[in-house]
């Protein structure tokens, strides 16, 4: 029986820049930063209140995993904003939106009341996008 998701992958263009984005802008916690030889490291982060889910920030580059052609194509698609990486929840969507915006995070969609709840969309430093929603999907979002 499957019980949990423990580790998942986010493909990034530049691992050091992604470190700064996920740790210093989104406020994620560093879980592992293990050097694995030249130009290679195992880098994982977790959402602040979800320590048992690790997001592996994997650089896309020519390697055992990717031919140069595949890496170039994947980088192109990431930069074009094709990949949605998940839904992140927050206590207060307007406060989170204002804070991330102040830190330079690029939003594709400001918090908007949809029929299914209040939602915003933002991009990471590579071009992957995330949905941002209040913890309770039926929460209208505004706390004050």
């Amino acid at each position: 029986m499957i019980t949990k998701m423990n580790v998942t992958t986010i493909h990034v263009i530049d691992q050091e820049r992604a470190y700064d984005f996920y740790i210093n802008k989104l406020g994620f916690k560093l879980v592992n930063d293990i050097p694995m030889g030249p130009d290679s490291r195992w880098l994982t982060v977790s959402p602040p209140e979800q320590p048992d889910l690790q997001l592996g920030l994997f650089p896309v580059k020519e390697s055992k995993m990717f031919t140069k052609e595949v890496a170039d194509n994947l980088i192109d698609l990431i930069q074009k904003g094709i990949f949605g990486c998940g839904v992140l929840t927050c206590n207060d969507i307007y406060a989170t939106y204002e804070e991330l915006k102040a830190k330079g995070v690029e939003f594709i969609k400001a918090p908007t009341k949809e029929f299914y709840g209040t939602q915003a969309l933002f991009k990471d430093d590579s071009g992957n996008f995330f949905s941002l929603q209040p913890l309770n999907n039926f929460d209208k979002g505004d706390k004050i």
């Binding site: 390697s63 307007y94 406060a95 969609k109 918090p111």
Partner: protein, 153 residues
């Protein structure tokens, strides 16, 4: 970016001022700041500010400041600095109040936390592959090159 105006959501001006105060704490936690400085930053009366901050963040500004200081102290200890370095560089005046609060929030004393982190770091340096799911080590080709002696700590 679409054309949705950020002004459309309710009380945007209140949110911006509270967030500004939260970011002020994030940047100035190491200084001698208190509720008066923080509420001034948000241009609110003290009690109005505390109420709004609590509504948004679920904690008081003072409690949040204490948490930020302890989280930062954790990082400093992980960098191998001493407990007094961690204590004084995050804005505490006394080692005993720092240690007491650290233990209350983190669940172990600063020295025990630092020691545990050192031990884990040594273990990771010694056997890095034990800390990475094998599917990822395979995908990256790390299983084929198990010689990590040259990796700097």
């Amino acid at each position: 970016m679409n054309n949705i105006s950020t002004e459309e959501y309710p009380k945007v001006y209140l949110y911006r001022r509270i967030v500004q105060a939260k970011l002020y704490i994030d940047s100035n936690y190491a200084e001698r700041i208190g509720i008066d400085n923080i509420s001034d930053e948000a241009h609110f009366s003290k009690y109005h500010f505390i109420r709004l901050f609590r509504e948004i963040y679920g904690t008081t500004p003072h409690q949040y400041l204490k948490n930020v200081r302890i989280m930062r102290a954790q990082q400093i200890l992980k960098e191998g600095k001493s407990i007094s370095d961690a204590c004084f560089s995050v804005g505490f005046d006394s080692l005993s109040s720092f240690s007491g609060l650290f233990k209350k929030i983190i669940g172990q004393s600063p020295s025990s936390y630092a020691k545990q982190y050192r031990n884990i770091s040594k273990e990771i340096s010694r056997t890095p592959l034990a800390y990475i799911p094998s599917c990822f080590t395979y995908q990256h080709g790390w299983l084929e090159n198990r010689n990590f002696e040259d990796v700097e700590e």
